[in-house]
Amino acid sequence: MAVKFSLNGSQTEFDGAADMPLLWYLRDYAGLTGTKFGCGIAACGSCTVHVDGEAVRSCVTPLDSLSGKSVTTIEGLAEDGKLHAVQQAWIEEDVPQCGYCQAGQLMAAANLLARDNDPNDESIAGITNLCRCGTYPRIRRAIRRAAEILSAGDKA
């Protein structure tokens, strides 16, 4: 039976393997390679997406758990061409080095800011996405910058 869910605002359905992790559906069938594979056991966070607004590691999220839900990937983070505050902040703070983990970092950060629009150092440090290049100091600055952008936007 086909699994039906919303993907970046569009209805999608898949009648392949129901136990296929969302990550591999995105990369092999949906043509969305922005979400990356790093470990396959939810240890690194490179595969982070949003499901019904929650940050979720897609490498361990089977398709048959998504019925009726709403999935957002890095490709859908910007709305109508307008970058999300984290994307803008990431550019301003020149965060990426190799860039491979950054989609997952951005999705985790966007989710953090959705829950807590002025995160302190401890909450920022709660992001467990791994970065092999060690961009962590600039990620921290970018999250604080994104919080500023969001709060300026609220005041606008």
Binding site: A17, D28, G34, C39, Q97, C98, G99, Y100, R132, C133
Partner: protein
């Protein structure tokens, strides 16, 4: 200066010399009528920032504003030539490794920009019927003495018809740089943050299947038997292919015997692999044990070893010494653990091929594909997508060889993807070994001799192209400070056998050596009753050049090392009163032509290391991209902390014990301090920075731990050894 990027191509059947040179402008630079400047980036971008910094070099001499520039990635390129082997590089060297990209490109790519600028000037001169020498350029325009201008975009159609100057043209004096030395953000940042950036693993070839490979866990093992019925029964699985065994006398292609499961998509291939049954014949390295290796390495320090360098008479110094200081250090094997696991997508035709993969050595990949298939390299297209990390791993192309074997067997395009477990267990590991350090002090506490013995794996092990190198390659640095600063000096090496393939791991030699060199220097200073920073500065003495025959030579400047050491001490406010249980440690080292130092302030509570401050100082000569340089130093520092704290690869009964990130614990954000980067600017031609930030981290950390707790750590990784 090398003009290799414009080789003297004699008239060949492929093209006449004139038309090749005329094309030089479009090889790297294209200007559209609206004056938008497209600049080709030739390096493989592995996170070291060359997609931005190399075009900066061209843009500077081209005399355009950076915001006029759009960067485009160039593929790997060769053109037919009469000289052997029948082709030459089209864009110059396209390797990522050894921190060589910036030094090699510094003059070469500035000449590209300058010679293309010269085309625009000559085009304007022709258009205006005026002497070229009367003209200036500014912001992508040629300027006439009366101030009127023509844009490069307007001049491009004419400029393209002119012949690029064969001889070097004058370059800008450093004082006139507008782009070099500035802080330029990553050129394709927007693509990265919107998920559009393409990596090797994202490669698509129409109709490609996906393969995963079940590999033998033992070096030199083989398939004894296998049952593919379960695998073939999984929906989506199309083929099961047994790889040929790799050669037993050389690590020159793929590393392990294996069975590939090929399917319509990645998940099906992975499920198919789970249903595959393989029995392995273990081969001759099935007893490999890293605990035994460590014992053997320390025991081998008692042997005389092969002399790499000897100055004066170290044994005489020992017999007359007031005090002898001795210690043994140990470095474990390391994996590279790039965040993007190995992969390769390959499409093989009768006499053409396409490779899409994250690479560091595309030229070697081209030769490998040609050797395995007989296809002429001129017909092998190799794209250079972004690489999710390199760190030296992707300098070896074993993952390309595997993809070729699978593609040959199934006669279809294929993408081979490695799992994280595959990636940790099939690596070209950083060598491992023991350091035997000894020093003698006179009655006046002067250092009278320094001995550095290494007993470690032989880096050349089964690697034919390294056969002519010294046995101590990447494990012993014969000319490292304090060589040349102490009257009696000895460096020796003894090889200790082990079965693992060995490779290049971020600053291979400096990372391996600095831990022992700078940790022991601290021990000697303490034995002499002299402050460790003062001890180093006294030993370095006045600024002078000493010979250095290793990578980054030919000289080592004691003054430049003193400067970064003093700056690190100053930045961390060395010597101030510290909170109870805090300690500061410092280390400095010469890394591939550049000079780096780290200083840490730490404390240890209940067996956990707390890093209170982290200072990194580097002198790389002229900074090219200031933002990118800071990123490399900061990232390299975090890599150094991550590695020193927790990382090692261990083997029991021939099998690697680590499997995934839970047992190969990369540092998470919570453990990463802010890195205070300070760049010492000098007028020297730039060295590369990709590897600079790592080697001095481990010894600075262990020196700080000693200062804080009195515990001297001489073996990495640190974490499990911290006293509670």
């Amino acid at each position: 200066m090398a003009t290799a990027w414009l080789p003297e191509v004699a008239a060949t059947k492929a093209s006449s010399e004139g038309s090749w040179v005329r094309n030089a402008m479009s090889l790297f630079v294209r200007v559209e009528p609206d004056n938008r400047v497209y600049i080709g980036a030739r390096g493989p971008e592995i996170g070291q920032g060359v997609r931005t910094s190399l075009p900066m070099l061209i843009a500077e001499e081209l005399d355009v504003e950076w915001d006029q520039v759009t960067v485009e990635q160039l593929p790997y390129g060769i053109v037919a030539a009469d000289s052997k082997p029948g082709f030459v590089a089209k864009y110059g060297k396209q390797n990522a490794g050894g921190s060589t990209t910036i030094p090699q490109s510094w003059l070469e790519l500035r000449q590209v920009g300058a010679r293309v600028r010269d085309l625009f000037v000559r085009a304007a001169a022709q258009t205006w019927d005026i002497e070229a020498s009367a003209l200036q350029t500014k912001s992508g325009h040629v300027v006439k003495p009366d101030g009127s201008t023509l844009s490069y975009g307007e001049l491009a159609p004419l400029a393209k018809t002119l012949v690029v100057a064969k001889d070097p043209v004058p370059l800008k004096p450093n004082a006139e740089f507008n782009i070099i030395g500035e802080s330029i953000p990553v050129a394709d940042a927007r693509d990265i943050v919107t998920g559009q950036a393409q990596y090797g693993i994202d490669g698509v070839v129409a109709g490609h299947l996906v393969a995963v490979i079940e590999r033998c866990p033992y070096r030199d093992g083989e398939v004894e038997s296998y049952d593919d019925s379960g695998a073939l029964a999984v929906a989506g699985v199309r083929h099961v292919v047994v790889l040929p065994n790799p050669p037993k006398d050389a690590f020159s292609e793929h590393l392990a015997a294996g069975v590939a499961v090929v399917a319509d998509d990645t998940w099906s291939a992975m499920q198919g692999r789970k249903a595959l049954k393989v029995k392995w014949h273990p081969g001759s390295w099935a007893a490999d044990d890293t605990d035994v290796f460590r014992e053997r390495a320390h025991a081998a320090l008692k042997l005389e070893g092969e002399v790499a360098r000897t100055d004066g008479d170290v044994s005489a110094a020992h017999s007359t010494a007031e005090e002898i200081v001795e210690a043994e250090y140990f470095q474990p094997f390391l994996a590279h653990a790039t965040m993007e696991p190995m992969n390769a997508t390959i499409d093989l035709g009768e006499n053409r091929a396409l490779l899409i993969a994250s690479l560091q050595s595309p030229a070697a990949a081209s030769r490998l594909i040609s050797r395995l298939t007989g296809i002429n390299p001129l017909n092998i297209e190799i794209q250079l997508p972004r690489s999710g990390g390199g760190f030296g791993r992707r300098g070896d192309n074993d993952f390309v060889a595997e993809a070729v074997h699978v593609a040959k067997a199934i006669k279809k395009p294929v993408k081979v993807i490695w799992s994280r477990e595959d990636d940790l267990r099939n690596d070209w590991y950083r060598p491992s070994g023991a350091h035997g350090m000894s020093a003698t002090l006179s009655a006046k506490n002067e250092l009278t001799s320094w001995t550095h013995k290494v007993a470690a794996t032989d880096r050349r092990f089964r690697i034919p192209y390294l056969a002519g190198r010294d046995p101590w390659l990447t494990c012993l640095d014969a000319d490292a400070f304090p060589a040349g600063c102490v009257p009696n000096y000895l460096a020796t090496f003894t090889a200790v056998p082990f079965g693992l393939p060995l490779g290049w791991w971020r600053a291979p030699l400096p990372t391996f050596v600095a831990f022992a060199n700078q940790g022991f220097m601290d021990e000697v200073a303490h034995a002499a009753g002299i402050d460790p920073v003062e001890f180093r500065l006294n030993l370095l003495g006045e600024a002078r050049e000493l010979k250095y025959e290793g990578h980054g030579g030919p000289i080592f400047d004691t003054g430049r090392l003193s400067t970064v050491l003093q700056r690190a001490a100053s930045n961390i406010r060395y010597g101030r009163e510290l909170p109870k249980s805090h300690g500061i440690g410092i280390a400095a080292h010469f890394v591939f032509g550049a000079y780096s130092a780290h200083a840490f302030e730490v404390s240890v509570t209940a067996g956990t290391l707390n890093i209170h401050r982290c200072v990194c100082v580097a002198d790389v000569g002229i900074p090219v991209n200031r933002l990118g340089l800071e990123a490399q130093l900061s990232g390299g520092t975090i890599d150094g902390i991550s590695t020193a704290l927790n990382l090692e690869v261990t083997l029991k009964q021939g099998k690697i014990e680590q499997s995934n990130f839970p047992d190969y614990r990369l540092l998470p954000m919570a453990g990463a301090p802010d890195v205070e980067v300070d760049i010492v600017e000098t007028e020297h031609s730039p060295a590369g920075a990709g590897e600079m930030g790592t080697p001095t981290v481990a010894p600075a950390l262990t020196n700080a731990i000693f200062a804080a707790t009195g515990q001297r750590i001489r073996r990495l990784p640190i974490a499990s050894q911290l006293e509670t």
